[in-house]
């Protein structure tokens, strides 16, 4: 193959891989004109800001709600993931969202990278729920907030903001302990919330599965 052909093929890569660029400003001002431009800018700034639609100048970020989709099988979950990894939660990095529905951003370290990340990467996991200013913890039923120090195998999707969101709420988040993986509904996490029945969203329903076995399955699907 010729190098030119490879360059042309790269044109067609998945758009999700292509990092957006801010529109560069033209260097139209000569140095001597710069001061005059600054002065003009200062004089008109107030007027300009008043006339500009606020929505056009504010940065906008899109995130997925953690329980927005329900996945019917592990294959489907893997197919929609762009980050799969065994992570350890370091702690809460930020609480965001509104007071009526806060959202938490947890910081986690990648301990075993499978897709879209590398070992020892620090990732930020966005999820709905968290602590309000009035010290109430709002938590989505069946989708417990991540616990500091806990390890999870996560199936996640990357957000434009640089965070990622676990897919399918509790579906894409497997509890890891002593080399074994369990679906959230097979742990005591939901029982702590007083829920005894299994989550209807729990397509994987893993119970005491060795990590290596699950990884092998993931790689098989990814290879396809």
């Amino acid at each position: 193959m010729k190098k030119e052909e490879l360059f042309e093929i790269l044109s067609e890569i998945d758009e999700a891989h292509i990092e957006k660029r801010p529109n560069r400003k033209r260097k139209i001002l000569q140095l001597g004109k710069a001061l005059a431009a600054c002065l003009l800018l200062a004089l008109t700034l107030t007027f300009f800001l008043r006339e500009t639609n606020e929505e056009d100048i504010l940065p906008r970020q899109y995130v997925r709600c953690s329980w927005v989709m329900n996945y019917g099988s592990m294959e489907q979950l893997i197919e929609y993931s762009d980050l799969i990894a065994l992570v350890q939660v370091k702690g809460l990095a930020e609480t965001t969202g509104s007071q009526s529905l806060p959202a938490s951003i947890f910081e986690a370290t990648v301990e075993d990278a499978i897709l879209g990340c590398e070992k020892e990467d620090t990732i930020h996991i966005y999820m709905s729920g968290g602590k309000t200013k009035s010290n109430i913890i709002i938590e989505v039923l069946s989708d417990p907030l991540l616990k500091e120090g806990q390890q999870y195998l996560i199936f996640a999707s990357k957000n434009e903001s640089g965070t990622c969101t676990v897919l399918g709420g509790s579906q894409g988040k497997l509890y890891y302990e002593n080399g074994l993986l369990n679906s959230i509904s097979n742990t005591t996490l939901l029982e702590e919330q007083g829920i005894s029945e299994k989550s209807v969203m729990d397509c994987l329903n893993l119970k005491d599965k060795p990590l290596e076995e699950v990884k092998e399955k993931i790689y098989q699907v990814l290879e396809k």
């Binding site: 193959m1 010729k2 190098k3 030119e4 052909e5 490879l6 360059f7 042309e8 093929i9 790269l10 044109s11 067609e12 890569i13 998945d14 758009e15 891989h17 292509i18 990092e19 957006k20 660029r21 801010p22 529109n23 560069r24 400003k25 033209r26 929505e55 056009d56 762009d82 897709l115 879209g116 990340c117 590398e118 990467d121 990357k158 640089g162 990814l222």
Partner: protein, 186 residues
């Protein structure tokens, strides 16, 4: 103006679509064209052709994000112009270096690549990119999609140019190995 509103202008066949596109994405497209062509006049021509292409393809397309859609058109038009210029022994810019680097991943031999094989190769490249960390993937894209100079990339990532060259060299090697393991003899 928001992308969705600009796209609506195209759908309404409203000529304002072009100046609005130019105002929002003109510099973005010009930067891509200049990276590839290394010359202002040709770059401007390719950017104008980009608007014409966008006008002809929206509708039926409703691109999102609009920036990447336009960037892709500019990239293709500019690369075609680059090949023409090179045949006329004109210009070069950053592109010659970018291509030389990509040359490390291929044999350089003429071979008939069926469309179906190209699709498979594209799929494998996408899978390779998915496995990279965001930073490494963006580095790869900066160089081999946007054709940016290593000094520009170094500035953006606050790294030295030699570190960027080293990282790109590793990425090329990894890509070559990844494709070879999957049976692609390029």
């Amino acid at each position: 103006m928001e992308d969705s509103k600009i796209v609506e202008l195209y759908w309404d066949r409203n000529p304002d679509a072009i100046p609005e596109t130019s105002q929002k994405y003109g510099n973005y497209c010009t930067a891509i064209a200049r990276n590839i062509l290394g010359n202002k006049e040709d770059a401007e021509e390719c950017v104008n052709d980009t608007y014409l292409n966008a006008w002809n393809s929206i509708p039926p397309n409703r691109p999102f994000p609009l920036s990447i859609f336009l960037g892709k058109i500019t990239r293709n038009l500019s690369f075609n112009r680059y090949k023409y210029n090179r045949a006329q022994k004109r210009g070069g810019g950053e592109m010659t270096l970018v291509l030389d680097e990509l040359g490390e991943c291929v044999s350089g031999e003429d071979a008939v690549w069926q469309e179906i094989n190209k699709m498979e190769l594209l799929k494998a490249i996408n899978a390779f990119l998915s496995r990279l960390s965001d930073k490494k993937r963006n580095l790869f894209i900066s160089r081999y999609w946007y054709a940016e100079s290593t000094s520009e990339i170094a500035k953006r990532y606050q790294m030295t140019e030699s570190n960027i060259n080293m990282a790109l060299s590793r990425l090329r090697k990894q890509l070559g190995e990844y494709l070879a393991e999957r049976g692609f003899v390029l």
